[in-house]
C-alpha cells in the first residue's frame, strides 16, 4: 500500500521478467503505473469538472421542482380530461427521472473526475485454522451473551411465539386457492335443468337465438340461457360454458357416426375454450373454416369436427349438441360429452365417468 493521493506515480510495482530456468515461478506484477487525469494536473479542467458536477446536481433540483409543480399546480378534478392527466403523468415521470439521475450521475462524475483515484492493494493472508474458528465461536458467544437472551426468558419465549405464528397467514392465503374443484370442472351450465333444454343466447345481452337468424358465414358468441341471472359464480360458469356458433354449408361438415344430429342444417356449436391452456378460441375464418387460438396459434378445422391441424393443443374442441325447439330457437340437447378446456389431473377419470 502506498499513498498516492498526491498523484505521484507508483514505482513499487515494476514488472519483473521470469528467469530462463524458473518458468514455473510467477512474480507479482504489482499495481500498474498510475495515470494522471486531466483534472489532476490542470486546475482549469478541475474547475470545469466541478462545474459539470454542480450542473448535474442542479438538474436534480430542477427535476424535483418540476415534480412538485406538476403535482400541486395541475389540479385534477372530476371533469379533468385525459390529456391533462397525461400531461401530469409525463411531468411527474420526467421530474422524478431528472431528480434521481442528476444526483446519481453527479456523484459518479464527481468520484471519477475529482476524488483521489490512487490504486490500493490489500494483502490476502492464509486462513489460520483453529484460532480463527475459535475466534468466530467467541464472537457468536459474545453476541448471544450481549443480547441477554439466556437471562431474559420472557423475550425468548415471546420471540419463539411470534416466529411460530408468523407463517399462519400463509396458510390462510394458500387456503384460498382451494377448495378442490372436484368434478365441477366436468360439468357446465348446458346440462338440461328439470328436463328443460337450455337455449343458446347471445353474449353479452342474453337474448335467445333463432336458427333462422344464423345465416351462412355467421359467427355468434353464445352463453347459456340463465347465465346473466346467476348471482354468484357467474364468471366461473361463463368461463366453462362459452360457445361459438357458426353456420356453414352442410356439405362442408363431415360428422362422424353418432354425431350427425349434433348440428342443425349446417349450424354447429363448439366450446370456445382451447384444449391447450384455456384461451378463448374465437378467431373464425369463414372461408377456410379454421378456428385459431390467439395465444399459441393452435388451429382447429371446423370441417373435421375441430380437429387440431396446427399448434400445441392435443384434443379437438368439444362440440355442443344442438337442436331447434318448437318456437324455432336453438337449444342444447345435452351438456358437452367431455370436460371442456385444458387437461387437468382427474380429467380422464371424469371423462370415463361421463361416458359410462
Amino acid at each position: 500500500m502506498g499513498n498516492h493521493s498526491d498523484g505521484s506515480p507508483n514505482h513499487s510495482g515494476t514488472v519483473a521478467t521470469a528467469g530462463q530456468n524458473e518458468v514455473e515461478k510467477f512474480q507479482d506484477p504489482g499495481i500498474p503505473p498510475h495515470r494522471l487525469r486531466l483534472a489532476d494536473t490542470d486546475p482549469k479542467a478541475a474547475k470545469r469538472a466541478e462545474r459539470q458536477v454542480a450542473l448535474l446536481f442542479g438538474s436534480s433540483v430542477v427535476g424535483t421542482l418540476i415534480f412538485l409543480v406538476a403535482y400541486f399546480a395541475i389540479d385534477l378534478g372530476d371533469d379533468t380530461s385525459i390529456a391533462t392527466i397525461r400531461l401530469q403523468n409525463a411531468l411527474l415521470g420526467i421530474g422524478t427521472a431528472f431528480a434521481m439521475l442528476g444526483i446519481g450521475t453527479g456523484i459518479v462524475h464527481w468520484a471519477k473526475a475529482l476524488m483521489p483515484d490512487h490504486e490500493v492493494s490489500e494483502e490476502r493472508h492464509a486462513i489460520r485454522t483453529e484460532e480463527d474458528r475459535l475466534a468466530a465461536v467467541r464472537i457468536v458467544d459474545d453476541i448471544v451473551e450481549e443480547t441477554g437472551i439466556k437471562r431474559r426468558p420472557l423475550i425468548r419465549n415471546t420471540l419463539l411465539g411470534a416466529v411460530a405464528l408468523a407463517p399462519l397467514p400463509a396458510l390462510a392465503v394458500f387456503g384460498d386457492l382451494g377448495p378442490r374443484p372436484d368434478n365441477t370442472l366436468a360439468h357446465t351450465m348446458w346440462a338440461p335443468q328439470d328436463g328443460k333444454l337450455k337455449r343458446l343466447t347471445r353474449d353479452p345481452d342474453g337474448t335467445p337465438i333463432k336458427a333462422s337468424d344464423v345465416t351462412i358465414g355467421s359467427a355468434f358468441h353464445v352463453i347459456p340461457e340463465g347465465l346473466n341471472e346467476l348471482h354468484e359464480g357467474k364468471l366461473n360458469e361463463k368461463a366453462k360454458a362459452v360457445v361459438l356458433l357458426m353456420r356453414l354449408n352442410p356439405e362442408s361438415l363431415n360428422p362422424s357416426p353418432g354425431r350427425e344430429n349434433w348440428g342443425y342444417n349446417g349450424i354447429v356449436a363448439y366450446s370456445k375454450i382451447c384444449t391447450h391452456v384455456g384461451c378463448p378460441v374465437a378467431l373464425y375464418e369463414q372461408q377456410t373454416h379454421h378456428l385459431l387460438c390467439p395465444c399459441h396459434q393452435s388451429t382447429f378445422d371446423l370441417t373435421q369436427e375441430c380437429k387440431v391441424i396446427f399448434g400445441p393443443a392435443s384434443r379437438p374442441l368439444p362440440q355442443l349438441p344442438i337442436a331447434v325447439d318448437s318456437e324455432g330457437y336453438l337449444v342444447a340437447t345435452s351438456d358437452f360429452n367431455e370436460p371442456v378446456g385444458p387437461s387437468y389431473w382427474e380429467r380422464d377419470e371424469h371423462e370415463r365417468n361421463r361416458n359410462a
Binding site: D213, S218, L283
Partner: protein, 261 residues
C-alpha cells in the same frame, strides 16, 4: 461530401445511418398507406345499374364471370348486395391486384360515381345487404355498449384497441383506425373474405352504430399512456424495453467503469 466521408468512421455513424434508413422507410410507408376513400351515396337508379353493368363487363367479368355468375377464378356475386361492392371496391380491395392469402386495402381504382354504378348493378342481380343509411353512421350511439359488443364479437381478431392482428397462413385482420364508418358497417353485414358475417339478426343496426361510435371514439382519444407502440401489447412493448431499456443500462455500466481522461 469530403466532410461527410471523413465522418463515416465516427462511432455514431452506424446509428445515424440506421436512423436515417428507418425514417425513410417509415416515411415512404406512411405516404403509400394514405387513406384514399370513396364515399358512395345510396341513391341508385336503373341508369346506374346499366352503366355499372358496362363497367362490370370491362373490369370484373374476367374473374367473376359475365352476369357475375362466378368462375374458377372468382365467386358469384349474385345476392352479395350493394354493401359488399361498396366495401370491396371503395376500399380498393377489388379489383384484386394478384392472388394471395388476402386482398389488400389500396387506393380505390374507381371513383365514387363508378363505385355507385357497380354497386347498383350487382344489387340488381339479387337481393343482398344494401349500403347503410346515414343515420346509422352518425357516430352518436352508445360508445360503452359498442365497446362491450366490440370486445365480445370483434376484439379477438381485430385486437382490443382495434389495432388488427394475425390469422392463419398469411391472413390477417386489419387495423380499424382510419376506416370510414360506412366501410366498417358494410364489413359487418357482408363478412368480406375470412371475416364472419354479423347480420342484423346477430348484432342489431343500433348495435353496429354503437360499435362504430366506440371505434371512432377510441381513435379520437388516442392512447392515454403516451406512445402506444402499435397497441400490439407485450410483443412490441417487450421488444422496446429489451432494446431501449437494456441499452441504457449497458451505456451506464460502460460509463461507470470507464476512466476519465
Amino acid at each position: 461530401m469530403k466532410a461527410l466521408s471523413q465522418k463515416r468512421r465516427h462511432p455514431l455513424a452506424a446509428i445515424a445511418l440506421l436512423l436515417m434508413g428507418l425514417l425513410v422507410t417509415g416515411g415512404l410507408y406512411a405516404v403509400a398507406s394514405t387513406v384514399n376513400q370513396a364515399k358512395a351515396t345510396t341513391s341508385t337508379n336503373a341508369n346506374d345499374a346499366e352503366e355499372g353493368g358496362k363497367l362490370f363487363a370491362a373490369n370484373c367479368a374476367t374473374c367473376h364471370g359475365m352476369g357475375a355468375s362466378g368462375s374458377q377464378a372468382g365467386p358469384s356475386l349474385v345476392g352479395v348486395g350493394a354493401a359488399a361492392v361498396d366495401f370491396q371496391v371503395g376500399t380498393g380491395r377489388m379489383p384484386m391486384q394478384m392472388n394471395g392469402p388476402q386482398a389488400y386495402k389500396k387506393p380505390a381504382q374507381f371513383n365514387e360515381e363508378q363505385t355507385r354504378q357497380l354497386a347498383a348493378y350487382v344489387a340488381s342481380l339479387g337481393p343482398g345487404p344494401s349500403i347503410p343509411e346515414a343515420g346509422l353512421l352518425d357516430e352518436k350511439g352508445d360508445a360503452a355498449a359498442g365497446g362491450e359488443l366490440f370486445r365480445t364479437n370483434c376484439a379477438m381478431c381485430h385486437n382490443a384497441a382495434a389495432a388488427g392482428g394475425a390469422l392463419t397462413r398469411g391472413k390477417f385482420a386489419p387495423a380499424l383506425a382510419g376506416v370510414s364508418g360506412q366501410h366498417i358497417y358494410e364489413a359487418m353485414v357482408t363478412g368480406p373474405q375470412n371475416m364472419p358475417v354479423f347480420s342484423d339478426a346477430n348484432i342489431s343496426p343500433e348495435g353496429k352504430r354503437d360499435i362504430i361510435t366506440f371505434l371512432k371514439q377510441i381513435e379520437a382519444n388516442g392512447s392515454p399512456g403516451g406512445a402506444d407502440l402499435g397497441a400490439l401489447g407485450p410483443v412490441s412493448e417487450g421488444l422496446f424495453i429489451w432494446i431501449a431499456g437494456l441499452g441504457v443500462i449497458i451505456a451506464f455500466t460502460i460509463w461507470l467503469t470507464s476512466r476519465t481522461s
